[in-house]
């Protein structure tokens, strides 16, 4: 395949940065990894940064005055600075390390939600949320007697913005929605959506798990109050994610978990909470993972987020074009220009599990199921879909192999 490539982006060179991409799934069967929406692969620089940290600097942070403790603290806080710059946040006080997106959202539900909501208040979500931006609000609603409203998803797979305007009349106290759907690939027009929510005084939370890894995000420009994302989907390690928040909101919120690190002073019956962001980081954090997260961000910045976005756009356009030629295949979600590199599809009469299984026989890793968005599958009345998701290291040739794989599935079930 010698189709056009993105200018200044050498995908073959990029692939060399990821050790796992050179492995064979089984003898003679190379890996075609199309499951980056679940978790991305990790470049050598990230693996090395984490390994070097353990080999050279490992110590607990913020509490020793010996040399290693200083170095470890510096490494951890430097990583924070990198991530702050990556999303264009104004200050390190506003960037809390969490375990992942899920924990970041739960932090807001627990700490902001419980202290700012009361019985009868409305929370506005959308029908395309990942379970991690749904279940925390269901839990809170049950506990506090809140009302959950949902912006509908149109048959095309985008948010119904007319309905959104109507739902704003319920005066939701919070709007929590995803930047990009992990099933439909839909990229939501966040700026306008957030502006309208703010005009009625709602607080806004964005699930950025699928956006921050794939295109430039500027939290200040978006005017989001909270923005959550995970390192493991953006070339970083598992076990660490981040929550960005507006300073005045974070300052008024009580701590989430209690323990060491989040305190300034403790007496037997009371404590004084630490300053931001440490107030929300109880216990020994994932230090090596933070270092890896920082290295991942460095790596992405060096390649350029707009280059990565452009490369994925090329892959997505190409894949959508190829898939449109396959009879009996339906892709969920909007046309290529409104979506990122996530393609969920189904074949008439062939279950997604069987598709994924046969693909795996050719070394092609895709996901099958409801991708933690069961309500959306219920809405579209499909029990499960196959999902191919792309990232900076995927190639047009791999898209071709994926399309061949679908043909093979059809042949077996003919």
């Amino acid at each position: 395949m010698t189709a056009k490539t993105t200018t200044g982006f050498d995908v073959q060179q990029v692939r060399k940065d990821f050790p796992v991409l050179s492995r064979e799934v089984r003898p003679g069967v190379p890996l075609i990894y199309l499951d980056s929406a679940a978790t991305s692969q990790k470049p050598e620089v990230v693996l090395q940064a984490m390994s070097a940290y353990y080999r050279e600097n490992n110590a607990n942070i913020h509490r020793g005055i010996h040399q290693l403790a200083e170095e470890a603290t510096h490494a951890y806080e430097t990583a924070r600075e990198k991530i702050v710059r990556f999303i264009h946040a104004p200050s390190t006080e506003q960037l809390i390390f969490t375990r992942n997106t899920t924990e970041a959202i739960n932090l807001v539900a627990f700490s902001w939600g419980r202290n700012n909501l009361s019985a009868g208040d409305h929370i506005l979500l959308t029908e395309m949320e990942h379970h991690s931006n749904l279940v925390p609000w269901q839990l809170l609603a049950a506990e506090m007697d809140l009302v959950l409203d949902f912006i509908p998803v149109t048959p095309e797979g985008v948010l119904d913005l007319d309905e959104y305007q109507k739902l704003l009349k319920n005066n939701p106290k919070l709007l929590a929605l995803t930047h990009m759907s992990n099933v439909l690939g839909t990229i939501n027009p966040l700026k306008e959506i957030i502006r309208d929510a703010k005009s009625i005084g709602a607080v806004t939370l964005v699930d950025g798990a699928q956006s921050v890894p794939h295109f430039p995000v500027n939290v200040v420009d978006l005017e989001a109050d909270f923005y959550a994302f995970s390192a493991h989907k953006m070339c970083g390690p598992t076990g660490i994610g981040a929550l960005y928040g507006q300073k005045d909101l974070l300052e008024k919120m009580p701590p989430f978990l209690g323990g060491g690190e989040m305190i300034k002073r403790v007496e037997l019956r009371s404590f004084k909470a630490n300053d931001l962001p440490h107030k929300f980081e109880a216990g020994t954090p994932a230090i090596a993972e933070a270092v890896g997260f920082g290295a991942a961000v460095d790596y992405l910045l060096e390649l350029g987020m707009d280059k990565i976005e452009e490369h994925e756009r090329l892959l997505t356009n190409y894949a959508m074009e190829k898939l449109a030629e396959i009879p009996d295949l339906t892709v969920l979600g909007p046309p290529a220009e409104k979506k990122g590199g996530v393609i969920s599809f189904y074949l008439n009469d062939i279950h997604a599990h069987d598709v994924a299984q046969i693909m795996d026989g050719s070394g092609i890793a895709i996901r099958a199921g409801h991708h933690c968005a069961q309500p959306l599958h219920i809405k579209f009345n499909i029990p499960a879909t196959g999902r191919a998701s792309m990232y900076l290291y995927n190639t047009l040739d791999e898209v071709d192999r994926f399309v061949d794989g679908i043909q093979k599935v059809k042949d077996i079930f003919k």
Partner: protein
Amino acid sequence: MEDFYREIIIDRYKTPHFRGELEPNDITYEDDNPACGDHIRIDVRIDENQVVTEAAFSGEGCAISLASADLLLESIIGKSLEVVKELAKEDILDMLGIELGPVRLKCALLPLKVLKAGVYGIGGDDSKE
């Protein structure tokens, strides 16, 4: 990997012998595989000796889980509930004739899980009625 999809699995998936629902029934149970959204319901009729006379399954699933359901139900017709209770993972794998990794094993075993839950649900006595 294609041999994974042995003819019997594709055949039973496309033209199952035991697909449907039985109303009334003596045993009915349904359950999901949360990992993939598969959903299976199994209905069974038994005679006065607790022997299975009819069985049917309905629901949504992949070729592995639905073929497994069809073969499983075929195997229990004419068997007593005591025998059904003894069925194990190995019996299912023998019927399918394949080896499965942990994820697909869940698909293959969902029908057995549903059947057993139903059978144990009535407790082997005639308290239901």
